[in-house]
């Protein structure tokens, strides 16, 4: 493994070499000028005298010159790199809000400008590519709805043993399309930078649980809402938060057996939690599901992971996070305290 090249280390080494070469050259010059030879240094006294002379007139001036030069150069170099370090931490801080980010080049040294300009240009192109991709996905999802609606209606007329099974498949497709449209909407909102507004988590949870409950009861399952002390208000986009909670409940519904209860909880603090009667998700598994669908190299038939990826996206867009608690079998949406 080769050592990464550090500018300061190279400078230190360079200045050291200059000092050495300078000393040797000076010695050589002095020897040549005064026509010294080694025989002149034969007696011990002459040798000592020569060494003393060299220390005073060669080594000392060199040290006096080189030390401040080294200190100053290192200082200049370090200061020149400060804007780069700042840019790096700014880039790191954009995690989750990458869209539209550009490196601020105003404090950059002129030498770094071509590099930052190139990176910013790359970011612009990446943003455009992402936007094109999203628009395409949204268009496809949108266009798919009409044929799917027709298919679903035709199936409704079909009096055949296979009809219910086919209807289920169409319903699954419909859910996937809904998720795709939702994803496109979240991205569009993020790009348009729509300002969040104060919303009550209790209010949102109560609406979502109320509207989703009939479907859960129809499957012979139950759902309940618990409200912890206080009524947390968060700054968020209401429809997006509702969609995130709905996704978590849909997920919980899949793993909860008939007769089981899905428990939704508001609080403590600015949190929403959904507990199901499934085995619970380990943090690794959750990260896996979210990541896999973010990379879009795998799609589950049920869209379970896609749903969670969307929840994660909504949460990051709100500066919050999606986490899992294996002990309580809960998925938790944590919002930043306003």
């Amino acid at each position: 493994m080769t050592q990464r090249r550090s500018v300061s280390r190279r400078l230190r080494r360079g200045l050291g070499v200059i000092g050495l070469i300078g000393t040797v050259l000076l010695l050589a010059a002095v020897a040549f000028f005064y026509s010294f030879t080694f025989t002149h240094l034969d007696p011990q006294v002459a040798m000592l005298h020569a060494v003393k002379e060299m220390m005073e007139h060669v080594a000392l001036p060199l040290v006096v010159l080189l030390v401040p030069v080294t200190v100053m150069v290192l200082r200049v170099i370090r200061q020149a790199f400060v804007p780069l370090e700042e840019a790096a931490s700014e880039i790191e801080a954009t995690r989750g809000h990458e869209r539209g980010f550009r490196i601020d080049a105003s404090h950059m040294p002129a030498e770094a400008l071509p590099f930052t300009d190139a990176v910013n240009d790359l970011l612009t192109r990446l943003d455009e590519a992402a936007a094109r991709q999203e628009a395409f996905a949204a268009d496809v999802a949108h266009e798919l709805r009409t044929p799917l609606a027709l298919l679903s209606l035709e199936l409704d007329r079909l009096d055949h043993n296979d009809a219910p099974r086919l209807k289920k498949d169409v319903a699954a497709m419909r859910r996937l399309i809904d998720q795709l449209m939702l994803l496109a909407q979240i991205d569009a909102d993020a790009a348009a930078q729509i300002a969040p507004e104060p919303i009550s988590l209790v209010n949102v949870a109560s609406d979502v649980v109320g509207s989703i409950a009939p479907g859960i009861i129809a499957e012979g399952k139950m759902i309940s809402l618990d409200i912890d002390e206080g009524t947390p208000i968060v700054n968020a986009r209401r429809e997006a938060v509702a969609a995130a909670l709905r996704n978590l409940i849909e997920n919980a519904k899949r793993v909860t057996p008939v007769g089981g209860t899905i428990q939704v909880r508001v609080g403590p603090g600015a949190t929403l939690a959904v507990r199901d009667e499934g085995p619970g998700l380990t943090p690794d598994r959750l990260r896996d599901l979210v990541q896999r669908h973010r990379r879009a190299d795998h799609a589950s038939k049920t869209g379970a992971g896609l749903g969670l990826a969307i929840v994660e996206r909504i949460m990051t867009a709100h500066g919050g996070m999606l986490s899992t608690d294996v002990a309580t079998r809960e998925l938790v949406l944590r919002f930043p305290e306003p």
Binding site: L153, R157, Q185, G210, P214
Partner: protein, 236 residues
């Protein structure tokens, strides 16, 4: 075995406004098989003509129509005419679009592609709401409630109810299939000056549930703890 009269729904006339003629025909067919009478309008001009010539109980409205936007048309008509309740059927999935539709005077919305069962259930729920055409009798499955005499019966067997229980049952029946929030029940059942004990609603619900269970209708009244209650036909 008592045959349930279905004439209530048979009377219900729907106007389907949808520009895709195949979709419109399939929707009309599906809803007709579920007991509604349906007319189809392929654009807003046809919709206006249909509205002028017949009395509809509800409208199923598509948004993107060749001669205009469904929402604008609805809002325009609502301004100066009595309009039947409308369900917006939209391919737009945008989160805020739904709210815009409801603001413009739509009573409900469904997102395409819609299941006929879901649409039929939404229309039925819409028609149970108090409003344009008041129905003397509301029915949910074999449970019937007479709004005039404030009495209920299950398969022609009378269920004895107190005034408050009758109010509660009517409220739940009008919104059958959906969860009625606790606050809404409290507001509807207890006037402002009435002292409401913390568990008054629970007590009323549990009395009503017992009576429904005794009347051979077990499992109709569901509790969504922390949110509210739902009355639901056992079959659907």
């Amino acid at each position: 075995m008592i045959v349930r009269p279905r004439k209530l729904l048979k009377d219900m006339r729907l106007l389907i406004v949808e520009d895709n003629d195949r979709m419109a025909a399939l929707l009309a067919d599906g809803l007709q098989r579920r007991g509604f009478v349906c007319d189809v309008a392929l654009n807003l001009v046809q919709a206006d003509e249909a509205m002028a010539s017949a009395q509809y109980d509800a409208i199923v409205l598509d948004l993107g129509l060749p001669d205009g936007d469904g929402i604008d048309w609805l809002a325009g008509r609502r301004k100066y005419k009595q309009m039947p309740p409308a369900i917006i059927q939209t391919a737009r999935g945008a989160l805020e679009d739904r709210i815009t539709g409801l603001d413009a005077g739509a009573d409900d919305y469904v997102i395409k592609p819609v299941e006929v069962d879901e649409l039929a259930a939404r229309v039925r729920a819409l028609l149970r709401r108090p409003g344009v055409r008041t129905q003397p009798v509301i029915e949910v499955g074999t449970l019937r409630f007479d709004t005039a005499s404030r009495s209920a019966c299950v398969a022609d067997r009378k269920v004895d109810l107190s005034r408050r229980e009758a109010d509660l049952l009517e409220l739940l029946m009008r919104r059958a299939g959906t969860v009625v929030h606790r606050d809404a029940i409290e507001n509807a059942l207890y006037s402002f000056n009435d002292p409401v004990t913390p568990n008054a609603v629970e007590a009323a619900i549990s009395r009503l549930r017992r009576k429904l269970d005794e009347a051979a209708m077990p499992g109709m009244l569901h509790t969504v703890r922390g949110v509210g209650y739902m009355l639901k036909d056992i079959q659907t």
